[in-house]
Amino acid sequence: MGGGIPVGGIVMVMEDLEAPHHMMLLRYFMAQGLAHAQPLLFASPLFSPRCFLGTLPGLATGNESKDPRNSTETNQKGDKLRIAWQYRRFLAEQQELADRRQKQQELTELRSRSALEQKRPSLQVQHYSSRFDLRRPMERALINTETVECICLQGSDMLSQLQEKCATFCNQLSRFDSGPQQVGRIALQSLCSPQCMLLLSEWEMMAFLHQLKSTLRMARAVAFISFPPALLRPSFTARWQHLADILLSVEAVEDDDKTLDAMLTDYRDIIGFLRVHKLASINTQVPAVPKAGSYAMKVLKKKKLILEQLQQAPIDAAGDQSGGAAGLLCAKPANAPSRLDF
């Protein structure tokens, strides 16, 4: 999907007020970061954000989690064959691409500075396509590390605190450092929910977001922000959307929607829709056009989250008005020897 989250980019998810699907994406985003032992900064309007970390999905065991680097070819083949591709794979590919890009950048920087004979630290082999089990909680050891920070988005000086934390977080991951290369993740949940907007004007929030964007661009970090657009004024929603590099939205499905049921083959399994509005185009002027605008979100066996391109059931030609015309156009000539000759 457009090559993934570029380092220094902002992913925004527009929440649906009636469904918590954005939390699912957030969980996967954070869990993937923790699985790689990447620094994480999590801010939420919940009273105890650290408790939320307990709900992150744990790594699936067994021979499922393979290292994609060792078996790239087979994986590519598998990708082609598999129609339903999974979110974690998507995330993993994104991350891999982003990291590659970043490494290239690092390399060119190193060359241009002609800082030579400096041996690059041996790259850690990371399992990018970790698989997660929604039923199993994340290992405690991964959560209780020093690199994980949590902030509660309530209180009077919340924004200044958050701003400060983000700045220090990004400073630690500055692109100009030649230390171990790690990508930090910032996850901000429901940033403009009423709890955190009590004492803030929308303009201050916008200024914070712009500040965050400019610091992110200089750091090896990505941000994942979810916000409920229904709670913002339309002009501010537009501003938030312009700010995002990748813009997604989640949507709940109604339980008994007969038209959708008729259109989609596997309507019963779908819990919601994910729509892609914008893809990142940093350092290029060509806009990235997504292959598909909407994906169906499914949970398989209460275990895996799957994103799938929408598949429409073929329309029954008999009930269709245009069937007659098509039949006429594709009909065989009168003197054709067999039924199949045109």
Binding site: E204, R239, T284
Partner: protein, 216 residues
């Protein structure tokens, strides 16, 4: 150039693909790039739109203007030394960020733009090119901004996606509206054309293709 939306490297990389090296221009002083991070801290705290104070010193954009003026004047010295082109152009990428620096006071933004327009270098007025988003001004307090911006401009270029959605071959359509008589006259001298021109476009890595609708 007032780059409020992206860092310099973003612009430099795109321009390099089009055969223009911004870095050398910046080193030689022909291009002055003002970064966003210098300005966001200027935002006034706690004040919202509708405040009565509108004097120049209260305007957080005044500091931005002073920097722009300083850059333009500095540019003049460079140009006089090299005897190159003397025309100065102020480019603002995303003027909607100016609202945020001004804390939501649109009068401040209009003041700032007026000052930029009135800026002159060697008795020649600077031209101002600014990019903004139409949809952020679609609510009552800011409703007049679109009209006000259009009123002060000589040429309005509107870029919008196709109404049928995103496509790979055609990225969108652009409408060019020439507003002033002066521009009209200049154009008419060369070739008579209508006041409104409409094209579709496709963006490539190193260029942009424009074509009339349906003539791809």
């Amino acid at each position: 150039m007032l780059g409020l939306a992206e860092p310099f490297s973003h612009y430099a990389r795109i321009a390099r693909k089009q055969g223009c090296n911004l870095q050398t221009m910046r080193d030689s002083g022909r291009l002055v790039f003002l970064e966003q991070s210098q300005f966001l801290s200027l935002q006034r705290n706690g004040k919202d739109e509708g405040s009565s104070a509108t004097s120049f010193s209260d305007n957080p954009l005044a500091a931005v203007y002073l920097k722009v003026r300083e850059a333009a004047r500095g540019n003049m010295e460079v140009n006089s030394a090299t005897e190159g082109a003397v025309h100065t152009c102020v480019m603002i990428d995303d003027a909607s960020v100016l609202d945020i620096i001004a804390g939501g006071n649109h009068n401040f933004v209009l003041d700032f733009l007026h000052y930029c327009r009135a800026l002159s270098v060697r008795k020649q007025r600077c031209s101002v090119v600014l990019l903004t988003h139409q949809d952020v001004y679609e609510e009552p307090p800011a409703f007049s901004m679109n009209l006000a911006l259009e009123y002060v401009s000589d040429t309005v270029v509107t870029v919008e996606p196709l109404s049928t959605g995103l496509a790979v071959d055609v990225h969108g359509q652009v409408t060019i509206l020439h507003r002033t008589v002066q521009m009209e006259y200049q154009r008419l001298k060369s070739k008579p054309r209508s006041r409104i021109q409409k094209y579709q476009f496709r963006i490539l890595e190193s260029t942009v293709q424009f074509f009339r609708p349906g003539q791809l």
